[in-house]
């Protein structure tokens, strides 16, 4: 196995790796392709060139929370969706509200979630989100019972095509008109 000798060969390796990965690849992972014989700056430059080369093609090279990935252009997605009529499971309102609380208020305990939702949280709800790898336990709150603290994962951001939590819609946008308190 001969190491790549020119930019074209390096780009072919990068492209093949990203097209076959099935998940985002971080800069550190991509550097492994070249067995440590590449500078980060060069890698970034190659990724930029690759991104441009694909601009008029069928996929986009995008950066998400855990790295770079190729994904079908949005206008082609609807056609591809015809191949898989069965979609991801729809989550219940309870699951989505729990997710929203964790996303916007993290790190939170189950108690915090119950306080905000005003109902007890079924452990099954947390399990569904953990199984999807959208949330995980990031620690314990140092109070009686040491309840687990939950936060969203990078995989959650990847799945929503986001690079960071800051790219989520602002919470302020969801606050509605003040509820009047009459005297």
């Amino acid at each position: 196995m001969r190491e790549p000798e020119n930019i074209t060969e390096m780009k072919a390796i990068l492209e093949a790796a990203l097209l076959t990965a099935g998940q985002p690849l971080s800069l550190d992972e991509l550097l492994k392709l070249f067995a440590g014989r590449m500078e980060r700056a060069t890698l970034r430059m190659l990724l930029d060139e690759l991104k441009q080369a694909w601009e008029d093609k069928s996929l986009d090279l995008v950066q998400v929370a855990t790295g770079y990935r190729f994904q079908a252009k949005p206008e082609l997605s609807a056609f591809i969706a015809r191949l898989n009529p069965d979609r991801q499971p729809k989550y219940s309102r309870a699951v989505m509200e729990t997710l929203a609380i964790i996303a916007y208020r993290q790190p939170v305990t189950r108690g915090d979630i119950e306080q905000i939702r005003g109902v007890s949280v079924n452990p099954n709800i947390m399990r569904q989100l953990i199984e999807r790898d959208w949330i995980d336990v990031v620690g314990q709150r140092e109070v009686a019972g040491r309840p687990s603290l939950y936060a969203t994962t990078k995989h959650f951001l990847d799945d929503l095509n986001l690079r960071s939590l800051a790219e989520l819609p602002s919470f302020e946008d969801f606050i509605q008109d003040e509820i009047a308190v009459e005297d």
């Binding site: 990203l18 099935g22 190729f70 991801q88 996303a103 109902v119 919470f171 606050i175 509820i179």
Partner: protein
């Protein structure tokens, strides 16, 4: 996402009236519980859609009715019913505090409704955020990630073995074979074993070798020479080599024993 009245059915018939206040007919409670995510959700609905004034609710009636629920709900969804009961208790508390004359000394006390309003508004925002998250395009639905195939050519790495692992393996052999007693062998003997292999290897390659050629006098050092000599003796003893000498004091030749030389 808010429950609409047509979603709510009782005994198969759509219920077109949502309660104007917090009183929910007991036979419909389960349906309401399923339509709303909890008391905050129901209260929010009543405030936003029905313009309910939370202080206008006849608390005495409400209290009696909710106590009746406790009996009814013992069998089903007690936990959820409890959430509603907790809320009505909270409302009753708020109302009672509003009705009591405020002693001037605790005039600074916060309006108890403020906390409820804060919670309602926070929940309302979370509800909308949840809706938004639900609608956001996601991988697998709106995004298909490239996942072409590649021939997994294993980057074959032979197993690593450390000295400790080797020693452990040897200890296991010894334990099982109970060889400890008759195989006491020290470092020196290990060197002899190594030199036996070296001499054999040399003879295998060269065919025949003069005894003196097997000793590297220049770099060997006395210990090594002795070990080498012991190795040759051991090889001879184990019948692995053959030594020949034409006459006294003439050159001794060593060679690997041939099959036809069996004694």
């Amino acid at each position: 996402m808010l429950a609409t009245t047509s979603d709510i059915k009782i005994n198969g018939e759509a219920l077109y009236e949502l309660p104007q206040d917090l009183y929910i007919p007991p036979d419909a409670l389960e349906v309401y519980l399923a339509s709303f995510e909890g008391p905050l959700d129901l209260l929010l609905y009543l405030i936003r859609k029905n313009n309910l004034d939370i202080l206008d609710i006849p608390m005495a009636d409400l209290t009696v009715q909710y106590v009746q629920y406790v009996e009814k709900m013992k069998a089903i969804k007690l936990a959820l019913a409890a959430d509603y009961l907790l809320m009505s208790a909270m409302l009753i508390e708020i109302k009672s505090r509003m009705l009591l004359p405020k002693p001037s000394t605790i005039e600074d006390e916060e309006d108890p409704r403020v906390e409820l309003v804060r919670r309602l508004m926070e929940y309302e925002a979370i509800k909308l955020a949840a809706q938004q998250l639900d609608e956001m395009p996601k991988v697998g639905e709106a995004f298909q990630v490239a996942h072409a195939y590649y021939q997994h050519i294993a980057d074959i790495k032979p197993p690593e073995v450390s000295m400790d692992e080797l020693v452990l393996a040897w200890q296991n052999v010894l334990k099982r074979a109970k060889l400890n007693a008759n195989h006491r062998l020290g470092r020196a003997e290990l060197s002899v074993r190594e030199h036996m292999s070296l001499v054999l290897r040399r003879l295998q390659a060269d065919g025949m070798c003069a005894f003196s050629e097997l000793f590297d006098v220049k770099t060997g050092g006395v210990a090594k020479l002795v070990v080498n000599f012991l190795a040759i003796l051991e090889l001879a003893k184990e019948g692995l080599i053959h030594m020949t000498q034409q006459a006294a004091f003439s050159t001794i030749y060593l060679q690997v024993r041939q099959a036809d030389e069996r004694t």
